[in-house]
Point group: C2
Chain length 204, copies 2
């Protein structure tokens, strides 16, 4: 039976495995835009033929799917952990924010690509659907924390959830791991601002 072209883990010819192909493709997608990048562009950038790329993936859209799933899988693993944690919802929410910052730092190109997905192709629409599912999980935690009296009730919980992860996601716009602050320090800064605000409390 011939191997199918849709198995992401399949290894390619010597010299280029799926991992390095993916890494270059994601870099080009982020620089030039996914829509604007053709398989021809990727082949030139990689210095291999298009058929060598098709040896690994069936299409440009499959490359996108594998790439954004790297980001989404990390986020959903973090969300899954919060469901088995005990404790207050606000603490689980803070845990999820911290873990999401770590996912973002560890998988920055993949998360950056995910956040730029527009929904023009099948893989893009699947990614948007998973993002909405993640947003729903965050909103549930916010609702629960508000019911427990730990989150300010004067902002709509769905808006709070969106602002909170808007803040996390905005890190992709400027954060660069090399030479920058570490993931823990970044997560601390995000949590301080998001949970307690940038204002110095009176009397401190």
């Amino acid at each position: 039976m011939p191997p199918t072209r849709t198995t992401p883990a399949r290894r390619g010819r010597p010299g280029y495995d799926l991992e390095s192909l993916l890494s270059v493709a994601v870099k080009v997608f982020n620089e030039r835009g996914y829509e604007a990048t053709s398989m021809e562009d990727l082949s030139r950038k990689l210095g291999i033929t298009k058929s060598a790329i098709y040896h690994h993936v069936a299409s440009k859209d499959e490359l996108l799917r594998i790439a954004v799933d790297r980001a989404l899988d990390g986020l959903f693993e973090a969300a899954a952990e919060t469901t088995v944690m005990s404790g207050k919802a606000i603490d689980r929410l803070e845990f999820l924010v911290r873990r999401s910052v770590h996912v973002l730092v560890d998988r920055l190109p993949f998360v950056t690509l995910l956040l730029r997905v527009r929904g023009n192709t099948k893989a893009e629409r699947a990614a948007l659907a998973r993002r909405r599912e993640f947003d729903r999980l965050v909103t549930e935690l916010v609702l629960q924390a508000e019911a427990e009296g730990d989150i300010r009730p004067d902002v709509d919980p769905a808006v709070t959830a969106r602002l909170l992860f808007g803040l996390v996601n905005s890190l992709t716009e400027w954060y660069r791991p090399r030479g920058g602050m570490g993931a823990d320090a970044l997560a601390d800064a995000v949590c301080k601002i998001a949970f307690d605000g940038l204002r110095q409390p009176a009397g401190d």
Copy 2:
């Protein structure tokens, strides 16, 4: 003397003025990506010839420049107001955040386009330079507010400035004026979360 092609305010043929051309172009850029959109695509979308587009603008890059300047001009007008205000830096910073939310709501497609600019063309690089200048003004306000004891000193001021405007900019990802909350309510929510945090203070 023939009219030059670089005058943005110049009116075109009956049926399509620069304003409606710009509005359609920005919509297409935001949906498909600036790089991925050709003048041919715009001409098809508008139902006019390419030369009718060139009647208004010299190039695709000029369209981009005019569009992102709509966003940037609004932000710089707001920043200019803070320089003539009296009062504490933290209040001027909050004013700037509120005004920026209003600019974003009023000029959403232009701000969205601005935030997706990558720097591949002359107009894109000019936009990025203006964005950096705006970030510098925000960081100065944060530094001043911290020196006045009004901003928590345990987060680096440049990071605080980036998180704050990262939060504002993230609104473009989900906020839709039609049917959504108004600009004032949105600005309130952003300022509550950013300045005072989402946590309900103990004892409230």
